[in-house]
Symmetry: C2
Subunit: 197 residues, 2 copies
């Protein structure tokens, strides 16, 4: 059993984000006990997903059609572009149902540590899209981290249209969050941005 497919499978699973050797072994053994229900359907599904899911040429969302179903949706407003780092952020916002505009997926954040510069991001096409006169607002829905904020600054600096409203997500106490567990930075920001009523 030194170099069989099972050891290769465990090695490959252990390389996925969030998994290590122990969890990879556990998953592999669990799947071997459910070959017909889990292992073979999963293999088929991975192949199908790799073949059928494409990247939207406009916003870089993942979908089975290009342009993606969000870009194609005529019921959504064309005047707003919400900029996110990853498709998972787009999904998070879509789950809320609170936003009905367009998206733009950067595919990452600027990061000096990881050596990710503007050229590695899907940013140039955003600057292109933002020139269209129907766009009135660009919402930067980026993480409140150093990388997220430097990316937001970079985009705001390079968007190149004075009449465009560039907004950020509000900072503050998470809904349902207990003050006692919050960091000082969040409490300070929430205090400074306090509202009447």
């Amino acid at each position: 059993m030194q170099d069989g497919p099972l050891q290769h499978l465990i090695k490959m699973l252990a390389g996925l984000p969030g998994l290590g050797n122990r969890s990879a072994r556990r998953i592999a053994l669990n799947m071997l006990n459910n070959r017909e229900q889990t292992m073979l359907p999963l293999a088929e599904l991975l192949k199908r997903t790799a073949e059928e899911i494409i990247t939207c040429a406009i916003c870089a969302n993942l979908d089975m059609v290009d342009p993606c179903s969000i870009c194609q949706n005529i019921k959504r407003t064309k005047s707003q572009i919400c900029v996110v780092a990853q498709v998972s952020d787009l999904w998070a916002i879509e789950r809320t149902g609170a936003y009905k505009g367009q998206y733009h997926v950067l595919g990452g954040l600027l990061s000096a540590l990881d050596g990710i510069g503007p050229d590695q991001l899907n940013a140039a096409s955003l600057f292109g899209r933002a020139q269209a006169p129907e766009i009135t607002e660009v919402i930067l829905a980026l993480s409140a981290t150093v990388d997220g904020q430097s990316t937001a600054h970079y985009i705001a600096d390079h968007i190149g249209r004075e009449d465009l409203e560039v907004t950020h997500l509000a900072h503050g106490v998470p809904v349902g969050g207990e003050l006692d567990y919050l960091d000082d930075g969040t409490i300070t920001t929430a205090l400074r941005s306090r509202k009447a009523g």
Copy 2:
């Protein structure tokens, strides 16, 4: 993107042990960025593993040959059988290199809570194997949990040979373990089993 293969894939990944929705989304998106290097090879490997890995008819180990390479290995002693709950326990013992006998994989532990009785375990064939006169020792390498210990009792009670030595793994302080972080039960056992020298 409601019901495409990507959503199905995420749902299926989220059902694997140790994974939830968030980690499944992260893994799926990561794989989509590495289709040729990760996603398609993983699909192929899952299929190959499901087809090629078989359960040893003697000890229930997983291997590409039956009997497995451990049961076939003429350099290993035939007089000892080490009983483990899962193949992952067998692997853990093999990694130490400290054991050169045979194995027997039960496929689980007796559990009143989970409704797992003796019939659900691969125990009957162990009792058969233990009747062979060349077997002199059965080592119960089962977890030091309630389920592990009741399984050990059950096996010791039903092994049906008075002249057979039935042993357990020693309890005590883990090598490299700090006393301060150990539970009372382990410290009590280690104290009672203290050794001279």
